[in-house]
Symmetry: C2
Subunit: 400 residues, 2 copies
């Protein structure tokens, strides 16, 4: 049997995917599972946009809809992205600073595989999105965890971050609005990260997947604070909401973006053409876009509030009211630690005994083992309330 | 300025892309360029399939069309792929041996990044598809070139291959039907590769992108000859022909495919959902599929024959009549070497003086510097004839 690269074994696979498989099995057995696990928006892209795409498909001359596109995507789309970022209050980008990718995942891999050498240290906040650790480790990098405690509103701990940055760090990865906690990075934390990165010649890799889903407060643009050091990861999976179509983008200093472009060519050759055409139509119809965005935010806020109302009844739960994104991270250390039940066991019991799917906190960082990530992206407000009610029930059963 | 991984500088970028940029510049200047450079099929996916997709887009309940899919793709699509491979005379695969990817490029990267360790040796045939060398080198691998001379019908040289395999080779990459030469691997060559790989515990990575575009002769299935050692790379870019939608697949032994699946999750999370739905509709309508394939082959054969008719008039040109794929590789060593003009210079002069775009041979291997890759995928038979006529004209001007 020929060999393989053992670093692949560091990739454990997405916990969302494993929960999905369990859930599908339960569904086949006739169980109705309440989905608080996935970041999949519970709405379709706007009808008007879908109609436009349908008519493109019926055009017998539109070979471009099916063709390879330039590696970084169509120039018009990169222009539209730069304009959109500017319109949202973000930095003034040249389209050459933008590379479209096959979703945010490819954006992450392309960026990290361009900047990291084996042995490089990368700061991840605890908790953070589970997608970063496996990539860093496959690439031979070493993760330095820096706590972002619930007591601190899930903002990073200043002293711990400063100490970590003394270790010749190649990059700091930060997600804002955050997955899994829903917190917006404070301007103060953002400035700290930016200043330390500039001082220590490190990259800031900022994941802005949820930047248009901000309900209270303001998105902070790290690129504006450290333009020579910041690489931003973005996606169209949440807005307009076609995660399965795989389109995202990276922006940053032109010199490094041109290298990420080469890397991206090796990874996927070019981003999907039909998703690019969809985004172009979406961005060019400003009214449609703003209307859809308002509706999407209303959809999310209603569900977030249903979740928060329920959570206030879970004994011992601590969390941060999400200013953005689609998630709440609930810290259950008080009720769970005492009885020695961790997040993995709790999540399994929730699925089996209460038919509620959640993601165990341990995938988001070593100190998140008594936490759960709850998503309010998919289910109705009523089912979200019911799901949280069942969580409260199991917790009180366990703790009593 | 923070640093980056210097191995990225080994990626030089696709020559097709650079030619495309030059061509676009010339088009803007009003020049009509004959495109013999790109592997982009000159036809759309069948109308009936596009109609089906359009009606899916107008369905207001079909959330699945936009959602993340399982990492290896929808199970039904993997089943349909396994069935299709069987139907084409290929091996009997379990759907668990199939992972769908974001195009053949991601299939290549996912497979090679799963099996290669830094320092590993990889045999590439000279000439071979230009996409393999940069991936191998980015991953820290070392390319061992083995000649596949035009005198040998572009089949690999047996002695050279045997000698190369003495060097603890991790993988042999072979493309059949071939890009850039159009040759089908002979059963004899296939057996030699398979036997050597089994004997030396090496992988055979076989790129079957053009396996349904065979005009004369038969596609040889390397997996059947060495099932424990073969990883096959496939794409839907050529059949049904939507390269921009980015869908391909890998098949091989289940244990390694399950690792490639994990790698693929890190690279793109999941393959595009809409392309998967399109393929499912295509494969389930057997009549539509077979009809489209016959039309696609007729389209290609007509163009290939136009190209061959023209080439017989190019003084000193050697080539192999393509049994499949979309390419001819023309060896011009006789007229060019004498006057010291290499393929890069010739390609540039062809574009500037004759408005014909081709890919210089040097990108396909170190001994291919007096060769050109000509594609018959895109232009009409008349324009292909005209393009080859202009090549003949420039060659005779240069050689005289």
């Amino acid at each position: 049997m020929p060999g393989y690269n053992r670093r692949v074994d560091l990739i454990t696979g997405s916990p969302t995917r494993r929960i999905d498989m369990l859930r599908e099995k339960l569904s086949r057995e006739g169980k109705d599972v309440i989905l608080l696990s996935t970041g999949q928006p519970g709405f379709l892209p706007p009808r008007k946009l879908r109609e436009k795409l349908a008519s493109m498909l019926l055009d017998d001359k539109d070979l471009k809809l099916y063709s390879y596109t330039p590696t970084p995507g169509f120039y018009e789309v990169r222009e539209a992205v730069a304009e959109d970022v500017r319109g949202l209050g973000g930095p003034n980008l040249d389209p050459e600073q933008v590379v479209l990718t096959a979703g945010g995942q490819e954006a992450m891999f392309a960026a990290l595989s361009t900047i990291l050498d084996p042995g490089d240290r990368v700061v991840l906040f605890d908790p953070t999105y589970f997608g970063y650790k496996p990539i860093v480790e496959y690439l031979g990098g070493k993760v330095l965890w820096v706590k972002a405690p619930v007591e601190n509103g899930y903002q990073p701990d200043e002293e711990e971050l400063k100490r970590a940055m003394d270790n010749k760090v190649k990059a700091v990865v930060v997600v804002t609005p955050d997955n899994p906690t829903g917190r917006l990075l404070s301007l103060e934390s953002a400035k700290l990260i930016a200043d330390l990165a500039v001082e220590r010649d490190a990259w800031v890799v900022v994941d802005e997947a949820y930047k248009t889903l901000v309900y209270e407060g303001e998105h902070v643009w790290l690129y504006k604070l450290a333009p020579d050091n910041t690489i931003a990861i973005n996606t169209f999976s949440k807005d307009p909401g076609f995660p399965g179509w795989r389109l995202g983008y990276v922006y940053g200093p032109e010199w490094i973006v041109s290298k990420i472009r080469l890397m991206s060519e090796e990874l996927v050759y070019c981003p999907p053409s039909i998703a690019q055409r969809a985004i172009l139509a979406y961005f060019r119809d400003r009214e449609l876009r703003m209307k859809h965005l308002e509706e999407a935010k209303r959809f999310m806020v209603e569900r977030r509030d249903a979740m928060l109302a329920g959570l206030s009844e879970v004994a011992g739960a601590r969390y941060v009211r999400p200013g953005g994104s689609m998630f709440v991270m609930v810290d259950l250390e008080k009720p769970l630690a005492r009885v020695g039940i961790d997040s993995e066991v709790l999540a399994r019991r929730l699925l089996e005994e209460e038919s509620v799917a959640v993601i165990p906190g341990k995938y988001f960082g070593p100190s998140s083992n008594y936490r759960l990530r709850l998503s309010f992206a998919t289910e109705s407000p009523e089912r979200i309330r019911e799901g949280v009610r069942r969580i409260a029930r199991l917790i009180s059963k366990i703790a009593s």
